[in-house]
């Protein structure tokens, strides 16, 4: 069957390189502590390199691949069930793959100093996590997708449970059970779709592009899509299924929060775009008002709740719910502009929120507290840290010129045709983050000192890390063209009917 144009299995390498690197840590588990961090970091950097190498491949489509895919691998796996090992990369996957590699690297750097016990396991789990997420973004076989979807849960469970703070065990279990319950119902929907397709055509397959176009009675399709939507909405997370997120975020270690916010939430949105809408277009159209209501409620509710938080991490966690509400709004509108905006917003949120969590991690590591009330006059003590904190907070609040603004703008523009009311309400949601962000910045950075905390300024490594992230924010904010170009063809194909 098809290979990519060079015959080089880029996608398989993307998925398994992190895991393989992680397993390399096992032999040096009990000796050579000097090797743990460099090996893991080398793996993450190599992964980012491979991911970036895929960018030029976008120029030519792969042979035998569905439209829009420029890297494609397809081998039989479990023939008895018609399950294949099918991977494919289009512009949408590419952006998320690069984001994954980048955010994982950030997560690793962010846990460089705070994590001192069980270091090899920590990095092994981060790398295993990366493998799982890559698998989710690249699978084109529903069974394979489901497999990676579940695999992502295990490392995150351990990351939160072992290195977390506060009620870490409660949060870890809550996270695991919430997401698992949703995804198991999705599994049933996948099986049902597979059986319907098989009984209609005689071809039993889990292949996404084999199953697209299956004629499903509308009432059945609503149930099946409902199961998909439930699984994705939990991961998203959309109001009112978001309750696992503040706990998980707050109690997770910094690396866990960064990956959770930067990547895991994106898998829900990605699933909806890649699987939910294409498989059940009619049902998705019927239920899109529901998705829109969930999105707008989430935006407003999360901003309101965020305002009342005293824990910085919890505040950012709720702001995440709000930002992901915008992504959901863009998907629900399903117009080319809104969808491009939604995907771009996924990337933006991935960078900006990871940066926020990383910065909070730095503060927490220096002072041992995340209570906003404990801080004050940070600007006077650590100006560089404060500057970047301000920068990312403003990016997150949607300051024009920075990346989030572009995404939100596109989403609102693209959705306007579909629903004036939703856009009007979401417009309020653009302003609300400013309120709580300004309050956060004011209390944290500029108010008078409340507790004599000693806050050293950024180290060179930390500086390097945040500068790269800030540059990305600025670049996407000022010149989103290349990313949007990359998204043009997949979005056109996805919205083909609705355009």
């Amino acid at each position: 069957m098809g290979y990519d144009m060079t015959g080089f299995p880029f996608l398989t390498i993307l998925i398994f390189l992190p895991l393989a690197t992680g397993l390399c840590l096992l032999p040096v588990w009990n000796c050579r502590p000097d090797l743990w961090r460099p090996v893991a970091l080398a793996g993450a950097i190599a992964e980012l390199g491979v991911a970036c190498l895929c960018w030029p491949a976008a120029a030519a489509p792969a042979k035998g691949a569905p439209a829009g895919f420029f890297l494609f691998e397809d081998y039989p796996w479990i023939a008895e069930f018609g399950i294949r090992y099918t991977l494919g990369m289009d512009g949408l996957s590419l952006l998320l793959v690069i984001l994954t590699a980048f955010v994982t690297l950030i997560a690793m750097l962010a846990s460089w100093r705070p994590v001192i016990d069980r270091v090899p396991l920590h990095y092994l789990l981060i790398l295993a996590m990366e493998s799982g997420i890559m698998g989710v973004f690249l699978s084109l076989d529903l069974f394979l997708f489901y497999l990676f979807w579940e695999l992502m849960l295990i490392p995150m469970f351990f990351l939160i449970g072992i290195w977390g703070h506060g009620r870490r065990i409660y949060s870890a279990i809550k996270f695991f059970l919430f997401t698992l319950a949703g995804s198991l119902l999705m599994l049933l929907a996948i099986i049902t779709l597979y059986l319907i397709h098989g009984s209609q055509t005689g071809v039993y397959t889990f292949s996404l592009y084999g199953l697209i176009g299956t004629v499903v009675p509308h009432s059945t399709a609503l149930w099946l899509y409902g199961a998909f939507l439930l699984a994705f909405a939990i991961k998203f997370p959309l109001f009112p299924l978001h309750t696992w997120l503040p706990d998980a975020h707050t109690d997770a270690p910094t690396a866990g929060s960064v990956i959770l916010a930067g990547l895991l939430l994106k898998t829900g949105a990605y699933g909806l775009v890649r699987f939910g809408y294409p498989l059940f277009p009619a049902a998705a159209a019927t239920l899109s008002p529901l998705l829109m209501v969930m999105a707008v409620t989430g935006i407003l509710y999360a901003s309101w709740i965020a305002f009342a938080q005293s824990d910085m991490k919890r505040l950012v966690a709720y702001s995440s719910v709000g930002h992901m509400g915008f992504v959901a709004l863009g998907i629900a509108a399903w117009t080319p502009v809104a969808l491009s905006g939604a995907i771009l917003q996924m990337v933006n949120h991935g960078i900006t929120t990871s940066a926020m969590f990383a910065m909070i991690g730095m503060l927490d590591e220096r002072t041992g507290t995340r209570e906003i009330d404990a801080y004050g006059n940070v600007w006077g003590k650590a100006p560089r840290l404060s500057f970047f904190f301000l920068f990312f907070a403003m990016a997150s609040a949607g300051l024009p010129g920075l990346n989030n603004f572009v995404g939100e703008f596109l989403i609102l523009t693209g959705s306007f045709k579909v629903s004036h009311l939703a856009v009007a309400l979401a417009g309020i949601g653009v302003i609300l983050p400013l309120v709580y962000t300004v309050r956060l910045i004011q209390e944290l950075l500029f108010q008078e000192e409340r507790r004599p905390l000693i806050i050293p300024d950024l180290t060179v490594t930390e500086c390097g890390m945040v500068v790269v992230m800030a540059c990305l924010d600025l670049y996407i904010g000022l010149h989103p063209g290349p990313l949007l170009d990359m998204l043009h063809s997949p979005v056109a194909i996805l919205t083909g009917g609705a355009g």
Partner: protein
């Protein structure tokens, strides 16, 4: 489905045909020989009996493998060694093999190193094999008795331990009670159809449709269902399970939760699918209710357990419920799922029990979930093995337990039992909580006391290795095993 007239390719339809019971014969002879050897060796050498019985199991396994694809009937059609029974025989032999590997270390720890345990395990296995290949209600009953009597002794084997005594006695009383139900059901079936051959029952019913409205037949079916439900520990006939599983010697708990349960399913499937297909509408309703009850009761009760053996006892009830989902479906996918699942379950459950044997101390101490605090970091390899088994039990990919559940629930959806599948996956999600709890203790809590125990014996290490392979290989490349299971179904 007229099975009375055997196809021409089944050898020697009438008369004695030892080829049809070759595995049983081999294993019985070896077991009897071991009993004899046991008399002549002293207590330090009892481990040799274990090695000999392992060799016996391997030999029997070869006999099972060589019979694949060539059905043999014998003893006037009261025994049929077809792929279905061979697949189950393989499962029984695997569970006996793995159990014997963990028995030696346990016996030394508990200072009850009596050699009789090995022949008893083999006799129990013979009984299970006879149940799987019995095509006459009497043969099935005979197999069941051989199995049960051996198990009563095995459950009470640690005779210095009061709980083990209690387990033996309880198992005996409730086992005898349930056997009564089963036998009464068989008698009623015989009374209404005039035969005990499963195939002949089916053909009698298909030729005399009137009998379907005979209350005697219906009562017979119900009573047999009750009897089998006791054996597979389906709710509400599961009450004996937790006490017996908690009290019995740990390796025997491992064995009982896997082998006899599979044997119960083998006979249950054979009788209901071959003999009573005409009543499928009735019994699938019944099994639907049983499946839901069994899954739900098993999982909900397991949530609250503190003793890990007891927790796994309830978990094994829940797993019987998942298997019943495939049985309720009654189609090719569902029944193949039953076969696949029971074999996978053998690996993951006995693997988990091997760790319990390791962590336990003399007098069945240290069997609480909280005793696993810090285990995962103190012993990374063992901890990883235990995590693999627990994730497989929870049905998380890429373990065999996931493929098995996937298979069972696919069967249910295909047969139109969508709600059953939904209840099944919700149960499965709930069950994750108590499996995760063990991992929470293993990795996320600090140890309360120092760990020190017997070193891992080579045989136990082999058991862990085989179990991990048996969980991961069918989980990642299930093709071969799925193929075998599909060739082994009854229809």
């Amino acid at each position: 489905m007229d099975m009375l007239q055997f196809p021409a390719n089944i050898a020697a339809a009438a008369g004695v045909n030892f080829a049809a019971i070759m595995p049983e014969v081999i294993l019985s002879v070896i077991a009897m020989a071991l009993l004899l050897v046991n008399v002549f060796i002293n207590s330090e050498q009892k481990a040799y009996l274990g090695y000999l019985s392992l060799i016996g199991i391997v030999v029997t396994f070869f006999s099972v493998v060589s019979g694949w694809g060539a059905p043999q009937s014998g003893f006037n059609n009261s025994v049929l060694q077809d792929n279905f029974s061979l697949f189950f025989k393989g499962t029984f032999l695997v569970s006996a093999f793995l159990t014997i590997l963990i028995t030696d270390q346990y016996l030394k720890r508990e200072e009850c190193n009596w050699g009789e345990i090995y022949p008893l395990i083999l006799f129990a296995t013979v009984g299970m094999m006879l149940m799987a290949s019995g095509t006459d209600l009497m043969t099935i009953f005979l197999g069941l008795e051989v199995l049960s009597v051996s198990l009563y002794v095995l459950a009470g084997f640690n005779r210095a331990n009061l709980k083990s005594n209690e387990a033996g006695l309880k198992y005996f009383l409730l086992g005898a009670f349930s056997t009564g139900f089963l036998l009464y059901g068989m008698a009623l079936i015989y009374g209404s159809t005039g035969t005990t051959r499963v195939a002949a029952i089916a053909s009698y019913i298909s030729q005399n449709g009137m009998v379907l409205s005979n209350p005697m037949l219906v009562a017979g079916m119900l009573l047999m269902a009750v009897g089998f439900s006791f054996k597979i520990a389906a709710a509400p006939f599961h009450m004996w399970t937790p006490d017996v599983y908690e009290g019995a010697p740990t390796p025997m708990t491992a064995f009982m939760s896997v082998g006899p349960k599979a044997a119960g399913f083998a006979a249950f499937l054979r009788v209901f699918i071959v003999a009573l297909p005409a009543m499928k509408a009735d019994w699938s309703e019944l099994l639907w209710v049983l499946a839901v009850l069994t899954m739900t009761v098993g999982n909900i009760t397991a949530l609250k357990q503190t003793n890990i053996k007891r927790m796994l006892a309830y978990s094994s009830i829940a797993h019987a419920g998942y298997v019943l989902v495939g049985f309720t479906a009654g189609n090719a996918v569902g029944t193949a799922g039953v076969l696949f699942y029971m074999l996978s379950y053998a690996f993951m459950n006995i693997g988990a029990f091997a760790i319990i044997v390791l962590v336990g101390r003399k007098g069945e101490e240290n069997n609480n979930v909280s005793d696993y605090a810090g285990f995962g970091f103190k012993h990374p390899v063992l901890g990883m093995c235990m995590s693999i088994f627990l994730f497989s039990l929870a049905g998380i990919p890429p373990a065999a337990g996931f493929i098995g559940k996937f298979y069972l629930f696919s069967g249910a959806i295909q047969a139109g039992y969508v709600w059953l599948a939904i209840i099944g996956v919700l149960n499965s999600a709930a069950s994750v909580y108590y499996y995760l709890r063990v991992m929470v203790f293993m990795y996320m809590k600090d140890p309360t006391e120092e760990f020190d125990w017997l070193a891992v014996s080579p045989s136990l290490a082999l058991c862990l290795l085989l179990s991990v392979a048996g969980v991961l290989i069918p989980g990642i490349v299930p093709g071969t095993l799925l193929d075998l299971a599909q060739k082994a179904i009854l229809m």
